[in-house]
Point group: C2
Chain length 154, copies 2
Amino acid sequence: MSFPNPHHDHGPCVAHALEAAEEECRRRGARLTDIRRRVLELVWRSHAPIGAYALLEALGKAAPPTVYRALDFLLAHGLIHRIEKLNAFVGCAHPGHAHPGQFLLCRQCGAAAELNDDSIEQAVRVAAEHSGFLVTSLVVEAEGLCPACQGQQA
Amino acid sequence: MSFPNPHHDHGPCVAHALEAAEEECRRRGARLTDIRRRVLELVWRSHAPIGAYALLEALGKAAPPTVYRALDFLLAHGLIHRIEKLNAFVGCAHPGHAHPGQFLLCRQCGAAAELNDDSIEQAVRVAAEHSGFLVTSLVVEAEGLCPACQGQQA
DNA sequence: GGGCTAAATGTTATATTATAACGTTCCGTC
DNA sequence: GACGGAACGTTATAATATAACATTTAGCCC
């Protein structure tokens, strides 16, 4: 939900996310195959959003459709989010909860934090209603500086 | 700011936008060259966000960098916005005012409406502060159904 | 106007992101 | 173990975007 210490031990986060994904897939009757699991793990290992071709390279011998299919699956089941601005992907911190993606993206270190703020969604919904528009999905991507990088600025 | 009647006469809108762009460029000491002007006009003529390669084709004999350079100029001077979700561009309804892009995108007809709602920006800024994050730019893109297309649904 | 300079444009090549199409393998079910 | 559908492999290509360098143009000073 917020920015982790950049030096924290990320291993347990990844392990926890994979476990949560396993459970979510069981719950949904979806198959978290080896490839899908590996892609999810790679996404989580990266603290910054990671692109499809970076994943592809990390996977070793694989062609683009392999990675895109895995990403499609993970997106469909709410296990990752896509960052439109970056054409890249991040692990979802709250699988199982329906929610729009709201992100804070540090332009210095690349770190991403997921928000889950109803007041943002409400503000958009209200503004949309004024135009008679019905919102079905919402992208919110704020670029700026994370706490750690603000300190490092001159 | 809102969705126009899909059958309205768009010509005057385009003409007005071009005039406003001329003035904004004068004010800024920027050169609205022939290519830039033509690209801006093409962007405005399209009701829906239009992609770089569609513009390229409409321009006739031109190579990608020509169009991308014109788009870069228009973006830099706030005359158009980029829709990240669509990799496409729309005319800015309020050149001269600094403002983040907030858009309503109809998934049926493709129409785009620009919002300019402070409460959305405020909500994001407040949520970001809770994480100690400093927002410098903001993308808000809501997908859904415009008034006209809601009527046409079963 | 002539010459200078910086900006703008032209041109070619290539990088990056994403999908189409079709064949094969794997896995649960009967 | 045969069937059927999902998952995966493979090849090709579409769609989006930029790098690098040559040439032209426009503004400016004298």
